[in-house]
């Protein structure tokens, strides 16, 4: 505004000084107000009233406890009194493994849908009202006293000796009948082994001792509760010699299972034909080749006569050559070969024949003499479902013969087989008490729900294979008004006068009065179960509970987590009873006519559906189908294509006695005449998280010959209207390694010729820039694809450790999974003349009918030249001095550019607010997903599972694998405290959660800067491959070649 035109413009209208000051004070006040409003609200710091003595070093530190969950010994990490991680024990106790369900037990513990206390249901669950435990107990006890003989206690499998004795005490005092119902059991084995050898124990195959393992529908990798996966992995890495020489595994099965996917060679045999194929192998070995003790045995020859390879191969649709070759291979490996049967295949009506044939093969191959079976530690599997007992009970109930039914840990309304009709039978029982932890399908029809505590909240014990015993010690106070099952049983048994239980009650009631709050004394335990358990363990530990020596021994058991008897006597020698061969006859007769047969298999993570409300388990992808949040009818690709189906199309499965409309899935490697459905889904009353997820296939099972038949069921499948999208955790199933060499894999032959075989990939150009130096440490990981079996335990371990939310079915369908580590499952496209076209990615029949399965755990590769870091404008992700790719949540604004630019697609974005409930009811109505996400993740007390060492991410923030940086930092702080070099941590100082959870030790983590660390040695091995060299990202993770043992 120039001075020339003064009459057009006003006089200089500068704001005068006083006005300026006035204004600035206003602004300053506004700013002060604003800053006051922005100030972090005051936070309380609540000190102990009186600090427990043993916490002196434990503030802000994790504390670990050994305990037991569902019979599996686990290590529980707690912080400030709440369990935050379930990990396998560092020293594997032989005979038990930790399953995903055990790892995810935290979600069951903190499940907001558990009953908060006893409820009077009166069969109207919507009008349930609270009750007091005392009135429940008084009621039950008085009824027990009156009608004990017509009362029934229905439990799930009982693995606790103390609980067994308490129940036994109740039974003796009142005449109460105890019925066990275990929905899943290996009944065929339990029937075949005693017949063959006269004693009941099913010995544990030593998979780490055999050179050749032949699986007849074996499921030792699918079901990791036995811990066989650990043993198996020991012999799976190539390059070993002698007793460490790589084993070979041949699997015969109908549905491609996790076990079959890990086989070196796989032959498709439908479940109903498996027994006959096994018998044919036996025929070839015994009758044709004259091998083993039964060679020349007329009885054997007679029993095996129908099973010539020729006869069987046409009936079963298996090439005779393949069987003959397998027989030759077995014969050659005689004394070093194991045959393992089992799994869903042996739940077919020819299951006993299958198990018998397997025993026969092992006998013939001299596996027992060669010590390939561990007689001291039998396989820890339920022997019987007791389905007949359940059916009888239901009949009795219907006829009015049961006055009171107590249900504890069983849910027959949900999982009883067809024909039992338990719900209807319950209506005829005058009084029903459920001790389950929630108003489940059975509990809704009860009169009273008296919720049992979670195993982490209650005392108990468990029997381990081989006579060992573990204590289930509570790791926290009960969250709700619940009581441990043992506690309840002891209480009731004491009330009806059992002396041992009365003693426990007496011990509690005659305790010295609780010390006043202002003294440092501790109150002794008021837990009945504790007193009872100690008394019960007195015999085991050899001292009376009053003896200080007992306390020492007891504390040692609690510390170690288990107790092992002094060396037990030698197992009786095994003598094969040829009479058992009669069972083989069933192998022939069981075959249904040429048509489809159905296999029902336990869901990979949910198992029998007990933890149906557990979001982690629903979201853990099935290792083979990669389906989350539900399940589908698996169908052979060729049949699937012929029927013109698409994944998720609804089909009707008609088994005659029951029908089910389910989505269908194109299951690679499936036998053409077989379909399969997972069990353990379709809960209706477990809570909103798991309700109505997937189909409930339990009613499709049938009782026959005292067993439950869940495979080889003749069914027809026809198309139904509609499509229900399947929540896959994976895009394309196929890998064409010619075009995309991203999974190092080779055969043993090629490996022995060239140790670097299989790691070939496109080469990258030189870098324009010099490298950064990492003078102190450089974190790196090596993953052995030969020992990784794809089970997915690392996924749950990571999820628990790193506070990873659950996104739900819609989240998975939207492609917004949050897991930081995933197991990519590929079907390796075989080499093809001229290479594959783009059609290979859709899974052509040539690839998926006889698939070679590859598993590749995929997590942040912590690339040295990380493309994600370059593109973040906010500097929210960059490299640390020790080679970590850091992701800083509080700096992240969420451009998602890093995720786009990640060639491995391992970055995860918080599309929704998962950590807290958003309040606005309008937006909860407008966008219902807000409420759903909070339901899945943010209902108290779910937050208690959070690891305080890891920031809980808000929405709009990117996250990814951090190599468990919190553990690195804790280890460094520990080193600083101890005065050692925090830049040079030893190998085991930092164990990421995935490595900790891995049962097969496929993951190695450490400092690549130290030349002698395990990880740098693995990374420099010729088997190591760092992915996408052509892109030049230089990952910190080395994948060791998956070697397939082709040396038949």
């Amino acid at each position: 505004m120039s001075g020339h035109q003064t009459n057009a413009l006003p006089e200089a209208t500068g704001v005068d000084r006083r006005e300026f000051l006035r204004l600035s004070s206003v602004v300053a006040a506004a700013a002060a107000l604003g800053s006051a409003a922005c100030q972090v609200p005051p936070e309380n710091s609540v000190a102990f009233h009186d600090m427990p003595e043993n916490l002196v070093d434990g503030m802000g530190k994790a504390r670990y406890f050994h305990t037991v969950i569902d019979g599996a010994p686990v290590l529980v990490r707690t912080r400030e009194g709440r369990p935050i991680l379930v990990a396998p024990r560092a020293d594997a106790i032989n005979g038990r493994g930790v399953t995903a369900r055990h790892q995810a037990a935290l979600m069951d513990l903190y499940d907001p849908d558990r009953a908060r206390g006893p409820l009077s249901v009166r069969r109207r669950p919507d009008a349930a009202v609270s009750l007091a435990w005392n009135s429940v107990s008084a009621d039950v006890v008085s009824r027990l006293k009156d009608t004990g003989r017509t009362s029934v206690l229905l439990t799930g499998p009982v693995q606790s000796p103390a609980l067994t004795s308490a129940i036994e005490a109740l039974r003796t005092q009142t005449g109460l009948r105890h019925v066990v119902w275990s929905p899943l059991a290996s009944e065929a084995a339990a029937e075949a082994w005693p017949r063959a050898f006269g004693h009941a124990a099913v010995p544990r195959p030593k998979l780490d001792a055999a050179d050749l393992v032949v699986g007849l529908g074996a499921d030792f990798l699918d079901d990791s509760s036995t811990g066989l996966d650990r043993d198996f992995a020991i012999r799976r890495a190539p390059g070993g010699a002698g007793a460490r020489r790589m084993s070979r595994f041949v699997q015969l099965e109908g549905r491609l299972s996790l076990t079959g996917a890990n086989a070196d060679s796989r032959i498709r045999v439908r479940d109903s034909r498996l027994a006959s194929v096994a018998a044919a192998l036996a025929h070839e070995l015994i009758v044709v080749k004259g091998l083993g003790p039964l060679a020349g045995n007329a009885e054997a020859a007679r029993a095996l006569a129908p099973f010539t390879i020729e006869a069987v191969s046409t009936g079963a649709g298996v090439p005779a050559d393949a069987l003959r070759k397998l027989a030759t291979e077995l014969a050659a490996a005689s004394g070093h070969a194991l045959v393992v049967a089992g799994g869903p295949a042996s739940t077919s009506s020819s299951g006993v024949a299958l198990e018998t044939a397997a025993i026969l093969l092992n006998v013939t191959l001299g596996a027992f003499e060669a010590g390939l079976f561990d007689e001291a530690a039998p396989l820890s599997r339920e022997a019987a479902t007791h389905a007949d007992a359940l059916a009888t009970l239901a009949d009795e109930m219907r006829s009015g013969g049961v006055a009171m039914l107590i249900v504890a840990g069983a849910n027959p309304v949900y999982d009883a087989p067809t024909g039992v009709n338990f719900a209807e039978a319950m209506a005829k029982v005058p009084y029903i008490v459920s001790l389950n932890d929630r108003l489940d399908e059975t509990g809704r029809l009860a009169d009273v729900l008296a919720p049992a505590s979670h195993p982490f909240e209650a005392w108990g014990d468990a029997e381990l294979p081989g006579g060992a015993c573990a204590v289930q010690q509570p790791v926290m106070q009960p969250l709700f008004d619940t009581r441990g099952l043992l506690e309840v049983m002891v209480d009731w048994a004491a009330a009806v006068g059992d002396p041992a239980c009365v003693a426990a009650v007496k011990a509690v009631t005659t305790l010295p009065p609780a010390p006043a709050v202002n003294t440092a004394e501790r109150a002794p335990s008021t837990s009945l179960a504790w007193h009872y358990l100690r008394a019960a363990w007195a015999s085991r530990l050899g001292n009376d509970t009053g003896d200080p020596a007992f306390d020492a021994a007891w504390n040692e058991v609690l510390r170690a987590g288990y107790w092992k008897p002094a060396a037990s006597g030698d197992a009786p020698p095994r003598h094969f009873d040829a009479g058992a061969l009669a069972a083989l006859a069933m192998a022939g007769s069981s075959a249904p006519a040429d048509g489809l047969e159905l296999q029902l298999y336990p869901h990979g993570s949910l198992n029998d559906g007990r933890s149906g409300n557990n979001g982690w388990l629903h979201e853990l992808p099935d290792p083979i189908t990669r389906i989350t949040w539900g399940g589908a009818l698996s169908m052979a690709p060729r049949r699937f294509d012929e029927m013109g189906l698409a994944n998720g199309d609804l089909v009707e499965v008609d088994a005659g006695h029951a029908k089910l409309v389910v989505p269908v899935y194109r299951h690679a490697g499936m036998h053409h005449d077989q379909v399969a459905l997972p069990l353990g889904l379709g809960r209706t009353a477990c809570g909103p998280i798991g309700a109505d997820v997937g189909p409930n296939a339990f009613p499709l099972r049938q009782r026959a010959n005292g067993r439950l038949i869940a495979a080889g069921l003749p069914v027809s499948v026809k198309r139904a209207q509609g499509n229900e999208p399947l929540a896959f955790a994976q895009g394309s199933d196929v890998i064409d390694r010619e075009a995309r060499p991203i999974v190092p894999t080779t055969t043993l032959t090629a490996f022995e010729a060239n140790a670097a075989a299989g790691t070939e990939q496109f080469e990258g150009g030189p870098s324009a820039w010099p490298e950064h130096e990492y003078p102190n440490a450089r974190w790196a990981m090596a993953i052995d694809l030969s020992t990784c079996n794809g089970c997915g335990k690392c996924v749950i371990g990571c999820q628990a450790e790193n506070n990873i939310p659950v996104v739900g079915r819609r989240g998975m369908l939207d492609g917004r999974e949050m897991s930081w580590i995933r197991i990519d499952r590929y079907y390796d496209a075989p080499e093809k003349e001229g290479g594959w076209g783009a059609e290979v990615w859709d899974g052509p029949l040539d690839v998926v009918e006889e698939p070679q399965t590859l598993f590749e755990p995929m997590l942040c590769q912590h690339c040295e030249n990380a493309p994600c870091e370059t593109v973040c404008p906010f500097s929210a992700t960059m490299h640390s001095e020790d080679g970590l790719n850091q992701q800083i949540y509080n700096r992240c604004v969420g451009t998602r550019y890093c995720a786009n630019n990640c060639p491995f697609k391992v970055r995860r974005f918080n599309y929704w607010e998962m950590s807290k409930q958003q309040d606005s009811s309008f937006f909860r109505w407008l966008v219902p997903r807000i409420a759903k996400n909070a339901e899945l993740n943010a209902r108290p007390p779910m937050q208690m599972k959070n690891n305080p060492e890891v920031t809980v991410r808000s929405r709009g923030v990117m996250e990814k694998c951090s190599f468990c940086v919190q553990r690195i930092r804790l280890a460094r702080a520990e080193a600083t405290r101890n005065g050692t070099d925090h830049n040079n941590l030893p190998d085991d100082a930092v164990v990421p959660a995935c490595m900790e959870a891995c049962p097969t030790k496929a993951i190695t983590f450490g400092n690549a800067h130290a030349p002698n660390s395990r990880v740098s040695q693995l990374a420099s091995s010729p088997r190591a491959m760092k992915l996408l060299e052509s892109v030049g990202v230089k990952p910190a993770i080395s994948y060791l070649t998956k070697v397939r043992n082709d040396k038949a």
């Binding site: 009459n7 690339c863 040295e864 030249n865 493309p867 973040c872």
Partner: protein, 183 residues
């Protein structure tokens, strides 16, 4: 009533050619504080009025240089000196990445600076003008208006008015403004 003063004389032309010719005449007669108000930029008028080329491009050049130097200095300060961080394995001074912002800041400084300078210069580098709100010249419509300011050393109101009329201008009028004295 406030005193008024004569600030100059206006005369209208109706085409660019007449205006150019008139401007050349005015200049050749030795007037210096005169101006031509036109509805659009008339090419050749600079020369007709005896003005030198605008110096705006020099300002532009200087500002562009400033933009370049500032951008380079700032980016290097941030990425290399102040807190060097390892982004994706690149060196701290990964200069190609600094090029786009350097270019943009160059353009930003040069362009905005030039425009502001031009507007300010249009006000400062001039003779006193008839205030547009008070004197409707018609120069924004279709008139090419000659303006001779009373600050011209040769100024004599009558003579100036006669001179403008002699150029063939229409509507020659003296401008009187209240209380203004724009020296």
């Amino acid at each position: 009533m406030k005193p008024t003063s004569i600030t100059g004389v206006l005369g209208d032309f109706h085409g660019p050619d007449e205006a150019l010719a008139a401007a050349a005449r005015v200049r050749s007669e030795g007037w210096t504080h005169f101006d031509m108000l036109t509805p659009f930029a008339v090419h050749g008028m600079e020369d007709a009025m005896g003005q030198r080329r605008s110096w705006i491009p020099w300002v532009t050049g200087g500002l562009a240089l400033f933009g370049i130097l500032f951008a380079q200095a700032f980016q290097n300060y941030v990425m290399v000196y102040d807190w060097p961080m390892n982004f994706g394995g690149k060196p701290h001074a990964s200069w190609p990445a600094f090029v786009p912002i350097t270019f943009e800041l160059m353009v930003l400084c040069a362009a905005i600076g030039s425009a502001i300078t031009a507007i300010v210069a249009g006000k400062k580098d001039t003779v006193p003008q008839p205030p547009p709100l008070l004197v409707k010249t018609g120069a924004t419509v279709d008139r090419f208006v000659l303006w001779i300011s009373s600050t011209d050393p040769k100024w004599q109101a009558d003579a100036a008015q006669r001179f403008v009329q002699s150029l063939g201008a229409d509507d020659v009028r003296l401008v009187e403004v209240e209380g203004a004295n724009h020296a």
